[in-house]
Symmetry: C2
Subunit: 158 residues, 2 copies
DNA sequence: TCCTTTCGGTTGCGATATGCAACCTAATAC
DNA sequence: GTATTAGGTTGCATATCGCAACCGAAAGGA
């Protein structure tokens, strides 16, 4: 495989483009943030986010299709529909939090409300950081991008 | 402030919407991924990402405007322009990595290439996780959203 | 010197996505 | 019954996107 083909593969097969294809639209992250904060119903999302109803309808549908939200009828009131995060959706929390922390630090300049705290110690959670396999914090200087095939060869050589 | 106003504030003042206003467009993350992987020039981004030239031009301009990329003329070849990540841009790495890891786990189903490794141990970096202030991993069950004002009251009460 | 290629764009145009407002159906509340 | 609520859908105007063609300045080659 040529260098060019290799790079091309990198960018099409990448987990980032895969993820963005599913949650990359303008409102998706804000809807998910709402879900993490306890929003459950169509009208709640609509009034709190200020999103257009047709777009909200479309996004909720996509998120359900992709298994990120679950759509259940409300047993008590048959008009109502409940949207909840699935495990796949809950697993987006690190993405949401690192995005939020970045926005707080570099754009809005102040911490947002509400705060996510450790339920027992009542301390806000730590900033999201990149860590080594054994848990040391890593800065960009400590890391390197390696082609998977080359890495395998390194391992075999050792 | 009423409950409704409070919620409304939550969603407009949030770090996530602040961040998305800057890097929320369709191609922004992929351009940043390119930059993290060493892409520097307009043509490199264009051919590797397969993005339309006018959109690329527009996105690079926005990222520069917002101080996420720096745009420098190339001393050796005056036709060329070099785009590099600033500190603000480099600080988006946790967002990129958690998004990528989620995409690998839940969408593409396999690790992407190239791998980001610890330069010294040659081990791939750890999955991004949410941690307490003192470094314990936290699951959603261990956390709670708290209004900042309430949290301050708790602290004063203790 | 002239000719070609490269680099980093811009322009025009059609396709797509988005936002707003009005409308709709089923279910509940009064 | 009538009004209201919940969760949408429909039409229409506008904004954004992607493609292809074009452009000017700089570099490379004969």
């Amino acid at each position: 495989m040529s260098r060019a083909e290799q790079l091309r593969e990198v960018f099409t097969e990448c987990g980032i483009s895969a993820a963005l294809a599913v949650v990359g639209e303008r409102w998706s992250f804000l809807i998910l943030r709402g879900a993490f904060n306890g929003l459950r119903h169509f009208e709640e999302f609509q009034t709190n986010l200020g999103i257009a109803r047709n777009i909200l309808s479309n996004r909720l549908g996509r998120l359900v299709e992709h298994g990120i939200l679950r759509r259940d009828p409300d047993a008590a009131d048959r008009r109502k529909v409940t949207y909840r995060l699935t495990e796949k959706g809950r697993d987006l929390l690190p993405v949401l939090l690192s995005l939020r922390q970045w926005g707080e630090r570099w754009i809005s300049g102040h911490p947002s409300n509400p705060v996510l705290v450790d339920r027992y110690t009542r301390q806000p959670i730590a900033p999201m950081i990149v860590q080594s396999a054994d848990g040391r914090p890593l800065s960009l200087r400590d890391m390197e991008w390696v082609d998977r095939a080359d890495l395998d060869r390194e391992v075999n050589a050792a």
